[in-house]
């Protein structure tokens, strides 16, 4: 059965796994290890002290106001640009500062997730160049497939830690519901993307998964539109349609993070939240005229 030579493997996993059986729970050691690593990682990233940062003193992160005499740009393009600059000025899109509470390793996992997605896309592109069965016949192909597999495992792992963290931070607060929902959508679409990838392996695993999963799809009527045993359909979904949707959702998610900013801590100081009614400090800002907008900042990650 396990006849294919393993190329480039230092640790040989090509043997039957050990399984943990506890009550009705049955899980392979490999899968259990992944879950434990994720939990340990999650505990570490929320408990290990973050690097010290330098405080920043600056008047404004807003773009310079337009000269009153200057004519506003016209037409769809002009209005579009004005809208873009209003909600996403360059200093919000590419910030060089952030609220100081952004000081935990959990904030790194959004970037790591996107990094893993990029590696998955790049390695997938190499596989696409040579065709879906190349990696069975070539040692280089097998290595590229390994890059693809592990980038996906990291992508899903990093995204899971990111999702856990954002849940416990209640990251949807402050009209950030669209940020949260695009994040959850990205997670769900990623599961579809990974699943169609497993179906596209053209090996024993994909053959069995196609057979087993058909009942789930058929039972809900999905089978009338998606046939898991149609390799061509699964492959096209995996390399064209679903990645486009996924990248689009991730793109909207990142833009929403930039537009809305990182959610402040639960119970943050009223003055920090610009709650002028409960803070004399903020009241002073109000009296200065510009409602403190010039001093305010919304950045995120």
């Amino acid at each position: 059965m396990h006849g294919h030579p393993i190329v480039g493997a230092i640790v040989n996993l090509n043997h039957p796994d050990h399984y943990i059986h506890w009550g009705f729970i049955l899980i392979s050691v490999a899968n259990f290890t992944v879950i434990i690593v994720l939990i340990v990682l999650f505990v570490l990233v929320i408990s290990v002290p973050f690097l010290k940062g330098k405080p920043i003193k600056r008047k404004s992160y807003q773009s310079a106001p337009m000269d009153g005499a200057e004519e506003a740009p016209e037409g769809w393009t002009g209005r579009g640009r004005r809208l873009g600059l209003k909600y996403l000025p360059p200093d919000k899109l590419l910030p060089d500062g952030q609220p100081s509470y952004v000081s935990s390793w959990v904030y790194v996992f959004g970037v790591l997730t996107i990094g893993a997605l990029i590696v998955a896309i790049l390695s997938g592109m190499v596989l696409a160049l040579e065709g879906p069965t190349w990696w069975h016949l070539s040692s280089i192909g097998l290595f590229v497939n390994s890059l693809h597999l592990w980038s996906v495992e990291l992508f899903m792992g990093f995204m899971t830690v990111h999702l856990w963290a954002k849940f416990w931070m209640a990251a949807w607060r402050g009209k950030r519901w669209l940020t949260w929902m695009t994040g959850v959508l990205a997670f769900l679409v990623s599961i579809v993307e990974a699943f169609t990838g497993y179906l596209s392996q053209t090996n024993f695993d994909s053959q069995w998964i196609a057979f087993e999963s058909k009942d789930a799809f058929n039972s809900g009527g999905i089978g009338a539109f998606f046939n898991a045993m149609n390799f061509g359909q699964a492959l096209m979904l995996h390399i064209v349609l679903v990645p486009i949707v996924l990248v689009l959702i991730v793109g909207i998610h990142v833009l929403m993070v930039r537009i809305r900013g990182v959610v402040p801590p639960i119970g943050a100081e009223p003055a920090h939240l610009g709650d002028d009614r409960s803070s004399s400090t903020a009241a002073v800002t109000l009296e200065q005229g510009d409602v403190g907008k010039g001093n305010a900042m919304e950045v995120g990650q």
């Binding site: 009705f24 500062g97 990094g115 899903m156 053959q207 009527g221 903020a282 305010a296």
Partner: protein, 333 residues
């Protein structure tokens, strides 16, 4: 203004607390490089699984009698595929519903499969140079349904005495009409690999649709607990009752993110239900929607405030004076 709306307004205000330097492009670049290095290390260290798929040829060679047993059920329309229901046919064997609602039935037959024709008679009719086989196919096709059923039943009664791995397939049996001739040739065709090709290419030279061979072999998984395919997947812990959805061949991690989905299959009453697939699908749909709409579901959206893990994440803000005393808006120049 309600408490929730007021806190929404506060948390959506631009941040006016202490700030720190941050370089988004630098962080993105470092993050990407770290991931790239990690992926290379993992790929070099662990490689990736690649077990070749099984074939009808391998199955028919390993378990000739087992193969013929299943082929007989395809011929008389009693196999799992033949009685499955939508999207393959109008059967009810695998038709699932929640109460009176069955989306499976609603969307109807999309990929019609006639197992007698598609799995047995049509592939056999492509074999050239066997006049006796051609006559046997014609005899079978022109017989009444009752006669066909009697022939197959008589043949099955004799075949059932054989073990799955037996190669002593019965070539002559008067009470089975043309069935021995059909089965002898079908087995030979399967063992030569020709049936794999025929099951794939009946409609076109080019194909990417493996439904027919997968369903044919899959019928043995359901009907024969010790079938060729069953023995392999059981050894690799890939069966549904082994949480197989999240497993991978060998010792590689599979899709651990499917743990919740596959867990429901192990839990009563779903684990004992004839509608287990659609019930688990419904549960996961509801849970996914709940996760998606957490921000607008009262109660759910406040769970993080009740279990203060957030205090650990933002502990520097809550405890370190730097985060409360430095660079507040009023102190800025």
């Amino acid at each position: 203004m309600s408490r929730w709306r007021e806190s929404e307004r506060s948390y959506s205000n631009p941040w006016r607390g202490p700030l720190r330097h941050y370089d988004i492009l630098k962080e993105a670049t470092i993050g990407f490089v770290i991931v790239l290095v990690l992926v290379f290390i993992l790929a070099i260290t662990f490689s990736s699984p690649d077990v070749p798929p099984i074939t009808v040829q391998a199955w028919a060679t390993a378990q000739p009698a087992g193969f013929v047993d299943i082929a007989l059920t395809e011929l008389n329309g009693t196999s799992t595929t033949a009685t499955y229901g939508p999207p393959y046919n109008t059967g009810t064997g695998s038709l699932q519903s929640i109460g009176p609602v069955s989306l499976q039935k609603f969307f109807g037959v999309k990929y019609p499969i006639d197992t007698a024709k598609d799995f047995v008679l049509n592939p056999l009719s492509t074999l050239p140079g066997f006049p006796a086989l051609t006559a046997a196919i014609a005899t079978y096709k022109h017989a009444s349904k009752a006669t066909e059923a009697r022939w197959v039943s008589n043949y099955q009664a004799r075949m059932n005495r054989l073990s799955l791995g037996s190669s002593a397939v019965i070539a002559q049996m008067a009470s089975a009409g043309p069935v021995p001739e059909l089965m002898t040739h079908l087995l030979a065709m399967a063992q030569s690999g020709a049936l794999d090709a025929q099951l794939l290419t009946q409609s076109s030279f080019y194909t990417t649709n493996y439904t027919n061979p997968v369903m044919f072999i899959g019928d043995s998984v359901v009907a024969q607990p010790k079938s060729y395919w069953n023995k392999i997947v059981t050894a690799d812990h890939l069966e549904g009752n082994q949480w197989g959805v999240m497993n991978e061949t060998g010792s590689w991690p599979g899709q651990p993110w499917m743990w919740l989905y596959t867990m429901w299959y192990q839990v009563p009453p779903m684990s004992n239900s004839d509608n287990v697939d659609v019930e688990v699908l419904a549960i996961m749909t509801v849970l996914s929607l709940a996760l998606l709409f957490v921000p607008v579901i009262p109660g759910l959206r406040r769970i993080p405030e009740k279990i203060p893990l957030y205090r650990l994440i933002w502990r520097r803000y809550y405890r370190d004076p730097e985060f409360t005393n430095v660079d507040t808006p009023a102190q800025r120049p």
